[in-house]
């Protein structure tokens, strides 16, 4: 690294990422978020299968505001990661690789994520 002296421009507030780049970086961010949720997921899974008390405990935990918040963020991360992932798989098999269709599918990814997130918010909080 740093073998040459090329200028590096990394002012994140000034970089205007195109919508396709947005899908890409959100895919990475949501994957990171989901990965950090795995220990919690396995903890709850293990507890719920241990005993009737554990099962009841998990049911109660899922009603706590903190876990509801985690679930909401998780719902965003999961829906974005899945939809953007399907988009990337389609691009792998040469579907939607042109600039216009790639931009369109990027917008569709954001729209579907927003839709699923709103449904998830209703299910989790109401």
């Amino acid at each position: 690294m740093n073998k040459n002296q090329r200028p590096v421009f990394l002012n994140l507030t000034k970089i205007r990422l195109p919508v396709t780049g947005m899908v890409s970086i959100f895919h990475r961010l949501s994957g990171l978020l989901l990965a950090t949720c795995i220990p919690l997921l396995i903890y709850l899974f293990d507890l719920s299968l241990r005993s009737p008390q554990g099962f009841a405990e998990v049911q109660q935990l899922l009603q706590s505001p903190l876990l509801k918040l985690v679930l909401t963020v998780g719902a965003w991360a999961l829906s974005h990661h899945l939809i953007a992932g399907i988009r990337f798989l389609l691009i792998d098999i040469d579907i939607g690789i042109l600039k216009t269709s790639a931009r369109r599918s990027a917008w569709i990814t954001h729209a579907l994520t927003a839709l699923i997130l709103s449904i998830a918010i209703v299910v989790i909080w109401l």
Partner: protein, 113 residues
């Protein structure tokens, strides 16, 4: 097995695990929605069923493979200092192996106790 931190094989693992997890999650959400397990007994019987048990085990193995490839890519992109990179990669590996053991202990308890 050739040791490499990139290439076609991890790329393929990532795709195959992604497709499997997508199918499993859709099936799982549909099952939760159509016949929600309301008590412990029903929930336990779900995972005690050999097909569901196996499908869940494959799901978690896919998940850990997928996370390994994904986080490995992130680490290789952002951490350029080789010793730090190595330490972080090894910690990730140990964490994922521990999580695998943890979830398999939970699954085996359901199957055999």
């Amino acid at each position: 097995m050739r040791w490499s931190l990139g290439g076609f094989r991890p790329w393929l693992f990532q795709r195959i695990s992604a497709v499997y997890m997508l199918g499993f999650l859709l099936f799982f959400m549909l099952a939760i929605y159509s016949c929600p397990p309301t008590d412990y007994q029903a929930w336990r019987e779900w995972f005690a069923h050999p097909v569901m048990w196996m499908a869940t085990a494959i799901f978690f193995v896919s998940l850990f493979l997928h996370v390994w490839v994904g986080l490995r890519d992130v680490i290789l992109d952002y951490l350029h200092n080789v010793p730090i990179r190595l330490v972080v990669l090894i910690s990730l590996g140990i964490s994922l192996i521990s999580l695998t053991l943890w979830v398999f202990r939970a699954l085996f308890t359901v199957a055999y106790l």
